[in-house]
């Protein structure tokens, strides 16, 4: 029989591999593509989770160093030396040792459990304070419908919220519903995710304490375009938020110079799926278009909302989002131009 060979080099190789992916967690990205980093929370539930995750990571790191330390010690110290063919002492076990490495893990688990329990209660069990903002979010294949029942605002794919400060707290309570399959609402910097389940109403509490844009994405596989179901959360100063809400409540723009485009819109199947105040369009299947141009992206983050992209989207949404449930409209170039000219007035 061949004796075991030297293994010191092998240990070092493994250690080096472990240290390699040292990473800068803490980045924010740019305004269009902020990095949805759960370690950069801006809202109490996300902050509570981060706190807990540090505790858990510290304990896990301790366990990892201990156990892998013992393993490497065994590998190094007890490898067979060449030429030594005698059997080592035969040890069958030891009850005191077994009990100690049963009881110590039980205690560790107990600590982790209590910390978890506390955090779950903190995040999940709170009742909405009377002055909190209510928003209803409805998941669709593959976009988000957003209602502000108290403000009379309806929009899509971009959730606008007021910032909450220490002396003027503005928590928001989200009601999550689904129009078709299961989706999941996840904006890592605001809170953990919450599934959006048909025939069921889930609730989630967020309270952003910093203004800015935060990115989220559907987290439950929901069909072909699960990948392009993004959600942008824009957090405003309080006055700014009021101005935004007022603008959303304002009647749709009706610029006479684009009346032709408006007529084309009303004649086309667009109206079956979309709604647009002041026209006959009152569909629920697609996003509301009343203030279309107030949004940064189209197709739930599939493309930036520029006139060129908008035009290409109407011509064939599949180029941005293959499998999307909106059909190509089969209009000629002139009609599309006029239609686009109308749409870009919808501020």
């Amino acid at each position: 029989m061949r004796p075991g060979s030297g293994n010191r080099a092998q240990c070092f190789a493994v250690l080096a591999m472990l240290a390699a992916p040292a990473l800068a967690l803490g980045a924010y990205g740019d305004a269009v593509h902020p990095i949805p980093n759960m370690f950069a929370p801006v809202s109490p539930p996300a902050e509570a989770i981060r706190q807990l995750s540090f505790l858990v990571s510290a304990i896990a790191a301790g366990i990892f160093l201990t156990v892998s330390g013992i393993l490497f010690w065994c590998v190094w110290r007890y490898r067979a030396r060449p030429g030594d063919d005698r059997e080592p002492p035969q040890v069958y076990g030891s009850n005191p040792i077994e009990w100690s490495w049963t009881i110590v893990p039980v205690l560790i688990v107990l600590v982790l459990f209590l910390a978890t329990w506390r955090t779950i209660d903190e995040i999940q069990a709170s009742e909405p304070p009377p002055d909190s903002l209510h928003v209803t979010i409805i998941g669709h294949q593959w976009w988000w419908e957003i209602h502000y029942p108290d403000l009379g605002v309806v929009t899509a794919n971009e959730l606008h919220l007021p910032v909450s400060t220490a002396d003027a707290r503005r928590p928001t309570y989200l009601t999550l519903e689904s129009a078709d399959v299961i989706h999941s609402f996840w904006v890592p910097q605001l809170a953990g995710k919450m599934d959006v389940v048909p025939n069921r109403t889930n609730r989630l509490w967020v309270e952003p304490q910093v203004t800015g844009t935060f990115l989220g994405q559907c987290a439950e596989y929901c069909g072909t375009q699960h990948a392009r179901m993004l959600l942008r959360v824009i957090v405003h100063e309080p006055d700014d938020f009021e101005r935004w809400a007022a603008a959303q409540r304002a009647p749709a723009a009706s610029d006479p110079s684009v009346a032709e485009g408006r007529a084309i819109f009303q004649r086309t199947a667009c109206v079956n799926c979309h709604s647009l105040d002041g026209t006959i369009a009152d569909g629920r299947f697609g996003p509301d278009l009343t203030h279309l141009m107030s949004r940064t992206t189209i197709g739930a983050g599939a493309a930036l909302n520029t006139p060129e992209n908008l035009r290409a989207w109407i011509e064939d949404p599949n180029t941005f989002k293959p499998g999307v449930l909106m059909p190509a409209m089969k209009l000629d170039d002139e009609q599309i131009d006029k239609l686009t000219a109308f749409l870009v007035t919808l501020k």
């Binding site: 029989m1 591999m17 990095i35 896990a60 490898r79 069958y92 978890t116 779950i120 389940v197």
Partner: protein
């Protein structure tokens, strides 16, 4: 040639069937690996258009389904089939023909599933292959959202191979309970056999709800029942309870055989008996039981009550204790031994190290509050590949290097083995250790593409490059399997100086296994034979 094929096709010998299981599983493994490679090419760059979205969705569904049902399960049945009768000193399984029937059901189920690639838009668009994920959540699987036959392929393929699994699990359990050789009490069974017994019983219990759920889904789809049809008032969450009551313990059905392999290899190569045998058995039984009370940890974010989330967090963390006992006992076995780092032991060592990481990320996921962030992110994908590759696959490699001489009569080449080991393990860490980080940076799983500038680009590229490294490692393995079959060093009956009964018969064993049914007095019958002055039964 045709007589050979005929001989294998009609065989009821547990050893041939075992080899057939393992060979089919390896075949499916290569296919599922190819599917994974295609996915990783697609994700290497932001906004890549190598694959259309539907194709990607079909690939991840088939990859997951294949790995769980057509690689993991049959590997377990293959090793159990081949080794259990040899280890308990029996001549075959209790019902040899049922055994063959089980194998063919499994294979036909798998082929039925793969037939789906040929329908609809053909191979490149991935045909009518299922695209609803291996978990097949309702209502995405309902008629309203899954038109055509892709979901029916999924349901029927898994149903058929599941029936085969039920038959085989029943057969193995019966064999272990009734056919042990004289002297082999439950307390003297090799730990491998203990784990297989627990695993068979666990499989029988959990395949029932899976089968029930699939029949209900077929009712929904073909007869207009409304169990899961939310458009008609059915429940989406009901499916998840059914599915995960199967699906979570299933993960243990996959990993317990890996523990079984490590429990044979570590002692033999450390030259010591397994440390704390009774505790190892107890921990196994505990794992089996607790695994059935943790399923809702896959559902922390469907909106269960805080009380339910707290309970399932607790039960999930509890399972870390018996799992920890196992790891400590393997370390206890190595401690004070004289460890020979031949290929099987190298894989088991890599397994222990990787499984510590997998276990710790598992505890992180069990922390329900943190799971509100982690669930359905790439962190989860990293975690369960540490379990399934670092746990299951590493030990399958260990097992193949360890028992190949018994099955073929020849040794696998050690030099090629080392190349395979170091290249594959390096690639594995590059891909899957890195994969934790995009998850922490908010990358959801099951997405076919992502935009640049979200902090995920470099990480994804590294993940994808690691796959190429793994593939090179695998080439050495496959080459080794083929070459050693012809030219490998002749093994002899007991090349590792081991202690369990399979090493007391010839390599390969004769059709009837043992000339005379052996009689045992301890857990290590061959140790007793080799050390008559200091036999084990004095101490047990």
């Amino acid at each position: 040639m045709w007589t050979k094929v005929h001989e294998w096709a009609v065989t009821v010998d547990h050893k041939k069937l075992g080899v057939m299981y393992i060979a089919s599983a390896l075949g499916f493994f290569l296919i599922a690996g190819l599917e994974a490679t295609l996915m990783r090419i697609q994700l290497a760059f932001p906004n890549n258009d190598f694959l259309p979205p539907t194709t990607f969705n079909r690939l991840f569904t088939m990859h997951g389904t294949t790995m769980v049902f057509l690689v993991g399960m049959p590997m377990f049945f293959g090793f159990a089939n081949y080794l259990t009768p040899l280890m308990i000193g029996a001549r075959d399984l209790a019902f040899p023909r049922l055994n063959a029937f089980g194998f063919w059901l499994f294979l036909f189920g798998g082929l039925l599933l793969y037939f789906s690639f040929l329908g609809g838009d053909g191979l490149y668009g991935a045909g009518t292959a299922p695209d609803v994920g291996w978990f097949a959540y309702s209502p995405l699987t309902g008629r309203a959202f899954s038109r055509g036959n892709s979901t029916d392929y999924w349901t029927l393929g898994i149903l058929v191979s599941g029936l085969g699994s039920t038959a085989t699990a029943l057969n193995l359990a019966t064999t272990i309970i009734t056919m042990r050789c004289p002297g082999m009490t439950y307390g003297k069974m090799p730990l491998f056999v203990w784990l297989m017994l627990v695993n068979c019983i666990l499989s029988l219990v959990i395949l029932t709800p899976l089968t029930a759920a699939q029949v209900m889904l077929l009712f929904d789809r073909f007869l207009g029942a409304h169990f899961f049809d939310t458009q008609a008032g059915g429940s989406a969450v009901l499916w998840q309870h059914f599915f995960w009551f199967f699906g979570h313990p299933e993960v243990y059905v996959l990993i317990l055989p890996a523990f079984a392999i490590a429990s044979e290899v570590v002692p033999v190569f450390s030259r010591k008996p397994l440390f704390g045998y009774p505790f190892m058995v107890g921990a196994t039984v505990m794992i089996g039981f607790i695994s059935m009370s943790v399923w809702a940890h896959h559902m922390f974010v469907v909106g269960l009550s805080p009380a339910a989330n707290t309970f399932f967090a607790a039960s999930t963390m509890a399972i870390a204790v018996p799992t920890g006992i196992k790891i400590f006992n393997w370390l206890g076995t190595m401690w004070g031994g004289k460890i020979r780092f031949r290929m099987p032991m190298m894989w088991c060592t890599a397994f222990i190290f990787s499984f510590v990481i997998a276990g710790l990320t598992g505890v992180m996921l069990a922390i329900a509050a943190w799971d509100f962030q982690l669930s359905d992110s790439y962190f989860v994908v990293a975690h369960f590949h540490f379990v399934l590759i670092g746990g299951l696959l590493f030990n399958i490699f260990a097992a193949i290097y360890y028992w190949y001489p018994k099955v073929t009569g020849r040794m696998l080449d050690e030099k090629l083995g080392r190349l395979h080991f170091w290249i594959f393990v390096t690639g594995f860490y590059i891909t899957f250790f890195t994969m934790h980080f995009p998850g922490l940076l908010g990358m959801p799983r099951r997405i076919y593409t992502y935009d640049a500038g979200r902090g995920w680009d470099t990480l994804n590229l590294i993940c994808s490059l690691g796959v190429a490294v793994q593939a090179v490692g695998l080439l050495f393995f496959v080459w080794n399997l083929i070459r050693s079959y012809r030219k490998g060093e002749v093994a002899g009956d007991d090349p590792w100086d081991a202690w369990t009964l399979e090493w007391s018969t010839t390599s390969p064993p004769p059709e009837y296994n043992f000339e005379r049914i052996p009689v045992v007095h301890s857990r290590r019958p061959l140790w007793d034979l080799k050390h008559p002055q200091d036999p084990d039964w004095k101490y047990e």
